[in-house]
């Protein structure tokens, strides 16, 4: 109407013109206002398209991260049994007092702290600080532990007071209890929290900083088996961090169990006997091994320690244990090396037989010592003693009497004025057989911290000491003195190989992996590291020598009624000259039984003592127990 109106008139008054222009301006203004509306919503829509359509996926991910908390659930750790399925370890609940910072009322803090102080004997200021730190953190609903390892009484009173102490609760977590504590500590090891040093390497394997992990023994070697697989709980949390519901759950897979080769009954008795026979030794070891499988039936290292202490160990306690000169945490059976003394004649003797330098009828006369002139200065004469002037000996007698001169001949030969009167096998050949028996390298037992020992030869001496090998070195090597060192485990391995006809076994302490119901998941087959290049005939000759050593020779005190034992003693000198050419000595005995059909091998090592007087009788008592415990 307005639009039509003016067209009819030609003449327009100024007022009309003014009105017309006003109306036009007004229309423009409304046009712009409408435009403004569309611009405003256009801008908002563009930004929303950017957020919801272009970057929507990223925001969705952030929303997911916001409200889902993934918390690991710990699997129960696998149990460990002895070979007769006697449980050796339990998972037991341990109680700690914790505070949920978000639920701990600030206004009543002073009152609650004094109550807790009285109840748990923990400093209130310390609690307040721990709680305060966490209260303002992202995660105020995870309990802060204020005292670990409550006594059952303490746990009970905290639980009783939970209703009156808001935010305070008893936190339960499982710990390992080792049924026999010190008796098996070196074999089982222990479990403790991941340390700060270990964490970087472990975090990719799914460990958290406060997770527990096997730290020694079987617990660490079989960590992957025992641990199981942690589960994951996807928990929906609200903005305050409070758990709303579990959205998704991946259950934890419990760890598998282990059946050890250890015979707990024998282990207990062996420990007892070694403790009785330890004398003034700093350390003592005994190992009983099944010669057919390499199963360790008993393994005792003294002094021992209680692995249960590690559940709640203070730093001082740990330092005390660690700094003890007798090194109780070290398994001396596998981690320490010693000169093997005359037990090493097993290697020299069997090697010499195989090399053809001797046979059962080879006779050598011991006048109590042999002398060697210095190659360059004949006025210097070295004397290599026997323990006695034993007279003329055949091979069996040489072994049974443990004649050093006999074995000097076998290894180094005998020369008079540059003339070879007896041809020995030589240091290189002896070193070769030594390595064959498994000395000089870890045996591969399933325990951590195994030492290698030393196999000396001319090249080794040149490299390590920069000196030339002498015939005297060969003589010392022959009788397990000088540079050669072994672990007790390696020596029982030598005896095992002689006893079983030449198989050097990989010793083991775990026989099989079992599931929670005790069903075998993974049997671990005995493993032969290598077969000796020594014929069984030659080994049999040496076995006869060892049998005679026990029946009438130096190892006689190892004899057991009703069972024929074969063995070899050793008294290895070590340390500085005590005057008059006497030294401190290690006592060794290594042997097997029954001699005619070997079943087990044994090594006994006493850090101070005499092989025949101390080690052999102790071994005899252990063997006696083994063969007669059922009687």
């Amino acid at each position: 109407m307005e639009l039509l109106g003016p067209k009819k008139r030609r003449w327009r008054s100024p007022k009309e013109k003014q009105e017309r222009s006003d109306k036009q301006t007004l229309r423009d203004k409304f046009f712009y206002f409408r435009l403004l509306v569309f611009i405003v919503f256009g801008v908002l829509t563009l930004q929303l398209m950017h957020m919801q359509l272009i970057k929507g996926e990223a925001y969705e991910q952030r929303a997911q991260n916001n409200h889902l908390r993934v918390s690991p659930t710990m699997p129960s750790r696998g149990l460990i049994f002895d070979r007769n399925r006697t449980p050796l370890v339990e998972n037991v609940p341990r109680f700690s007092a914790g505070i949920i910072p978000a639920d701990f009322p600030k206004e009543r803090e002073a009152e609650l702290l004094s109550q807790l102080e009285a109840l748990l004997h923990v400093s209130g200021a310390e609690i307040a600080q721990k709680v305060g730190e966490k209260r303002d953190s992202k995660d105020p609903f995870t309990p802060v532990i204020i005292k670990e390892g409550l006594t059952p009484e303490e746990a009970f009173s905290v639980r009783e007071l939970e209703s009156r102490l808001p935010g305070v609760e008893v936190v339960v977590d499982p710990i390992r209890r080792y049924v026999d504590g010190p008796l098996l500590a070196h074999i089982l090891g222990y479990v403790s929290q991941v340390t700060e040093d270990q964490y970087p390497a472990l975090k990719d394997k799914g460990y958290e900083l406060d997770d527990r992990i096997g730290q020694m023994g079987v617990e660490t070697i079989y960590e992957q088996v025992l641990r199981g697989e942690p589960g994951r709980n996807y928990v929906e949390v609200d903005a305050a961090g409070r758990e709303v519901q579990t959205v998704h759950e991946v259950p934890a897979k419990p760890g598998a169990g282990l059946v050890l080769s250890i015979d707990m009954d024998l282990q207990r008795k062996t420990t007892e006997l070694v403790q009785q026979g330890v004398g003034n030794s700093l350390n003592a070891c005994a190992i009983v091994m099944d010669v057919r499988s390499g199963d360790v039936l008993a393994m005792v290292s003294l002094p021992n320690y209680d692995d249960n202490l590690f559940a709640d160990m203070t730093d001082e306690q740990y330092q005390a244990l660690n700094n003890d000169p007798a090194k109780p945490m070290v398994n001396h059976c596998i981690s320490d090396t010693y000169p093997p003394g005359s037990t090493f004649k097993q290697v020299t003797g069997t090697g010499a037989l195989q090399e053809g330098v001797a046979n059962a009828g080879t006779t050598i006369t011991s006048y109590g010592s042999i002398s060697v002139k210095n190659e360059y200065d004949p006025s210097i004469v070295y004397v290599f003693k026997d323990w006695s002037a034993l007279g003329t000996l055949n091979f069996y007698q040489g072994v049974a009497q443990s004649s050093d001169v006999y074995f000097y001949y076998l290894a180094g030969g005998y020369y008079q004025d540059g003339v070879e009167l007896f041809r020995g096998m030589g240091a290189e050949a002896l070193a070769q057989y030594t390595r064959e028996y498994g000395i000089g390298a870890p045996t591969g037992i399933d325990l951590p911290g195994e030492a290698a020992g030393i196999v000396p030869d001319p090249v080794w001496k040149e490299q390590e000491l920069g000196e030339t090998w002498t015939i005297g070195d060969t003589y010392n090597f022959a009788i397990g003195q000088g540079f050669v060192t072994t672990t007790p485990l390696q020596m029982v391995g030598v005896t095992t190989a002689i006893a079983n006809g030449g198989d050097v076994m990989v010793p083991r302490v775990v026989r099989e992996v079992v599931d929670a119901a005790g069903q075998t998941i993974l049997p671990i087959a005995p493993e032969v590291a290598r077969h000796l290049s020594i014929s069984d005939e030659n080994l049999a000759t040496f076995r006869e020598g060892m049998r005679q050593a026990v029946s009438w020779g130096t190892a006689n005190s190892a004899a057991v009624s009703g069972v024929s034992v074969a063995g070899k003693t050793g008294t290895a000198e070590f340390g500085p000259d005590l005057g008059g050419g006497t030294y401190e000595s290690h006592a060794w005995f290594t042997g097997f039984a029954p001699a005619e059909d070997p079943e087990i091998a044994i090594v006994v090592f006493l850090e101070k003592g005499n092989g025949a007087k101390d080690a052999a009788p102790l071994a005899g008592r252990i063997l006696n127990y083994y063969f007669h415990r059922g009687d």
Binding site: Q52, L53, G56, R62, N66, H67
Partner: protein
Amino acid sequence: MRTEKVSYIRNFDYVLLLSALALVAFGIILIYSGSLPKYDNSTAVIEHPVARQAIFAMIGIIAMFAMSRVDYRLLGYTAIFLYVGALAALMFVLIAGQAVYGSRRWIELAGTQVQPSELTKLVLVIVLAKYLTDRQERIGKPAVFVTSLAIAIVPAALVFAEPDLGSAVILVAIWMAVIIMAGARSAHVLGLIASAAIVAPFALIAVVSDYQRERIATFLDPGKDPLGSGFNTLQAEISIGSGRLFGKGLTHGTQTQLDYLRTQTTDYIFSVLGEELGFVGVVVLFALFIVLLMRALQTASSSRDPFGRLLATGICTYILFQVFINVGVNIRLLPVTGIPLPFISQGGSSLITLFIAMGILQSVRTHRGPSEW
């Protein structure tokens, strides 16, 4: 009398009414979802935000119809009293108001909380319309321009002092739109804008409280303090973005339902919409607002007198800017300032004020004849 009734029925804007009602219904649905984390079945029905909002909507609708029956030209005579009353209420808030989230905005009245700044926006529309209509002939004079500005600045300053930056901006925007529509000289308007641009940075430093400054700093970098003041901004952003095209479904937004959003039935209700109904829900909301604003602008442009035109223009500006600031804050286009989303946010003061405004628009449409007095 009969023709008047016919005119009322014929001229009544049903589309405007329906779009307003649709928005309120939409809002109540969102309030329902947003209130789930805090209210459960144990909440007395009358206490529940949905029930309260429905009651306020009912009161608002009655007020709207009542207002629509009153000749809007009568409002002009009440302007001065409304203005004085509004200023008094704002001052009272500053002295005795209740502080929520660091800001004094509410006064307790008859058992409910009243937010005078909401009503003030409508009052300013009426006062400015009246003042400028009366001085139409002298609209180009600087005195009129300055006086009209002063009329707006006084309540804006009081609101700003609460502090409520958003409402202060809206009051100034209303003044700006109304003065332009009334025919102010563009030189005056442009001059003012230019000088404001120069003064603004200094004013920001001098006048803006720590609270506002922190909010602005947070706006510029919400990651700086993700658990502190940046929390709301960040969570709103995540909520809306994570809704994507179709949303997570009503009552299924993790951000909303797990309490990551704060004030999710009031200032951040748009985030609930964005999260649970997605971009599609947002477009529907915007469409409703656009329909409502177009109808209101239609009322303004078809008004037979300047007073009605200015009233309608002011109301449009009020709603448009309120929506822009609220949504802008939610989607991080603007710094944080608490402004309700018209018709949607939970809150009686805003809703009733808006329905009265709707009533005024209807009155402008239906009272086209000569004054009855």
